[in-house]
Amino acid sequence: MQTRKEIAVEMGPCWQTYVSSAFGALRAAHYWEYDASLFMVLSGRGFPLIVEERCCASSVTVYEWNEEHFRALDRIGVFSETNTTILHPPVHSLKNLQEHAKKRIIESLLQEKPVVIWSPTSICEFGLIRGFDLEDGVYFVTSIDQKNPDPLLFENLGFASGVNILHYQILHSVQSIPMETMLQSSLEYAQKSWNQECSSHPRYRKGERGYDTWIKALKTSQFDSFGVRYLLAVYGDNRLHLASGFRQLQDFFPKRKTLKNIADLYQQVADLFAKMREIAPFSPPSIPSALLSSEAIQQLHTALEECKILESKAMQIISIQ
């Protein structure tokens, strides 16, 4: 049995760390040949805009991971296995659970396929397991925040960040799916994300209602400043990728003129987010953010209202595709 393995892997250039991790894993496994923007559109992961009542930074990750992550890769023809166990309250069969995960993860790594996991380091974000060393008892990991993070001890799997959830996604196989089918499935998902209630938690709203919740939080000054800055960074980046992804799709479907309209609308939304990020730039939690002035808050909710209108227009076009 091979006792050590490392795979060269690079995470995708995205603020949404699930996307950057899954993209990195897919590229390393040679399951995806396009860029991160096309992955953002066709997997559907660029569309959801989930906002908690006080704009908590957790908004970005409050969804059903197993189902959503499985579906995201399924849309582009990748069959994967997702597994999530919340380790609170304590899991009595923890050792068995970790041992089972280890077996599956090592099998995947030996087939040159990195594994997506929740928080490989102390940062509450998704990342990748890119190798292992049985003698040292560690997984080699890749994280968004560090170039060369410390490895993860086998027994710390699920516990690295303090938000103790053991979540991993293993890539199994890929089948060729027509681009048309991928796009159709993704656009249907985009509409659902825009119109449906967020089922995970009553404090969180999705899509159009997500914008309403965000605007309300700003108008009533009942918001978490770090959360607002983080959401602007993540959702702004998603929209920039959506614009780029839809632009690229025009080359695949030259007859579908509406793709350009969708791309233009998302570009306008992305530009507005860029302006909002100038007003409320992201700063890490260790640096206290300055209070936003009332003028800045006013500018933010005015811009968000514009974004909501533009994205509604994009959804109207998507709905008749």
């Binding site: 040292d136 560690v138 303090g162 103790n164 730039p281 700063s283």
Partner: protein
């Protein structure tokens, strides 16, 4: 190009009312947009610049033109103070204390040479920095086994006075914590040091219930304490074995000490303070140390 140089350029542009923005900064210095944003954040948060964004002019301006960038000059009094602090923190017998001491030393030396700081001013995470004075007092109280009265703000921003019996320190997830018996809750609790607003040492002693502590560590809060430390076997010559190391350790043979640590960066910094050492295991740590020396070696070539 140093971050300091860019900060000076941004300041100059703002004063000339040219309203620089992140796009212009990134293209002028050929740096990423994200790096340019960080420079603006540094100006705003670390240097307290009253910087605001003008929608009309699509760039930044000072809300208060009286603001000036901090001078690089240090008075003798300031140098003495930094030197004293460096000395103070170096005696903390803790990697974080050593790190701060090194930073203070570097500030004094580099500013003496009247050189700009090549890698930009040091960035110290605020919670750690706030914790250090507190750490020093609490350490003393733990040694004396006396109760202390703390004014503590919990995560829900509720501020209360609590009388606590100090048990032990804990450093996890880049924060210092204190495990103590809280008379208010009549139970063991974990307190984050940077949330202690003030403290008063009392003369009342107490008896530690170590059995209770063990139960607490293993059962009461398994999630907080679930993270297992890394274990490293380090070969150290007999005469260099530290008497009071800042890490949990056990001597497993004549010249091998087994350490437990959470952060390799800090642990390597500690190892570098020893006269000599050799990492026996794990392999990944050995590689990190090798990389570190390789970097140093390249710097001296």
């Amino acid at each position: 190009m140093s971050n300091l140089h860019r900060i000076q350029w941004i300041d100059k542009e703002i004063r000339a009312q040219r309203y620089p923005n992140c796009h212009e900064i990134s293209s002028h210095f050929e740096i990423s947009y994200r790096q340019a944003s960080r420079d603006i954040e540094y100006l705003r948060y670390s240097l307290q610049a009253p910087i605001a964004y003008s929608q009309e002019n699509q760039g930044y301006y000072y809300e208060d033109s009286a603001f000036v960038l901090p001078a690089l000059y240090l008075s003798d009094e300031e140098k003495n103070l930094l030197s004293f602090l460096a000395e103070k923190y170096s005696t903390l017998h803790h990697p974080q204390g050593h790190r701060i001491a090194e930073i203070f030393d570097r500030l004094i030396i580099e500013r003496e040479k009247k050189k700009a700081i090549s890698k930009g001013p040091p960035i110290i995470s605020l919670p750690q920095l706030q914790s250090i004075p507190c750490y020093h007092h609490i350490r003393e109280a733990i040694q004396k086994n006396v109760k202390i009265e703390i004014e503590y703000t919990n995560k829900n921003q509720e501020r209360r006075i609590r009388l606590v019996h100090l048990y032990q320190f804990l450093e996890k997830y880049n924060y210092f914590y204190l495990i103590a018996w809280c008379e208010l809750k009549n139970a063991l609790r974990i307190f984050r040091l940077d949330r202690i607003q003030s403290m008063k040492t009392t003369s009342d002693g107490f008896t530690k219930d170590n059995a209770q502590l063990q139960i607490y560590l293993h059962e009461e809060d398994p999630h907080f304490l679930a993270l297992k430390p890394y274990t490293a076997n380090i070969k150290i010559s007999q005469e260099s074995i530290p008497s009071n190391p800042p890490y949990e350790c056990v001597q497993i043979s004549q010249d091998i000490v087994q350490f437990q640590f959470y952060d390799s960066e800090k642990f390597i910094q500690y190892l570098l303070t020893l006269p000599s050492f050799q990492v026996q295991s794990p392999k990944w740590l050995k590689e990190k140390v090798r990389e570190r020396f390789h970097t140093y070696w390249k710097l001296h070539e």
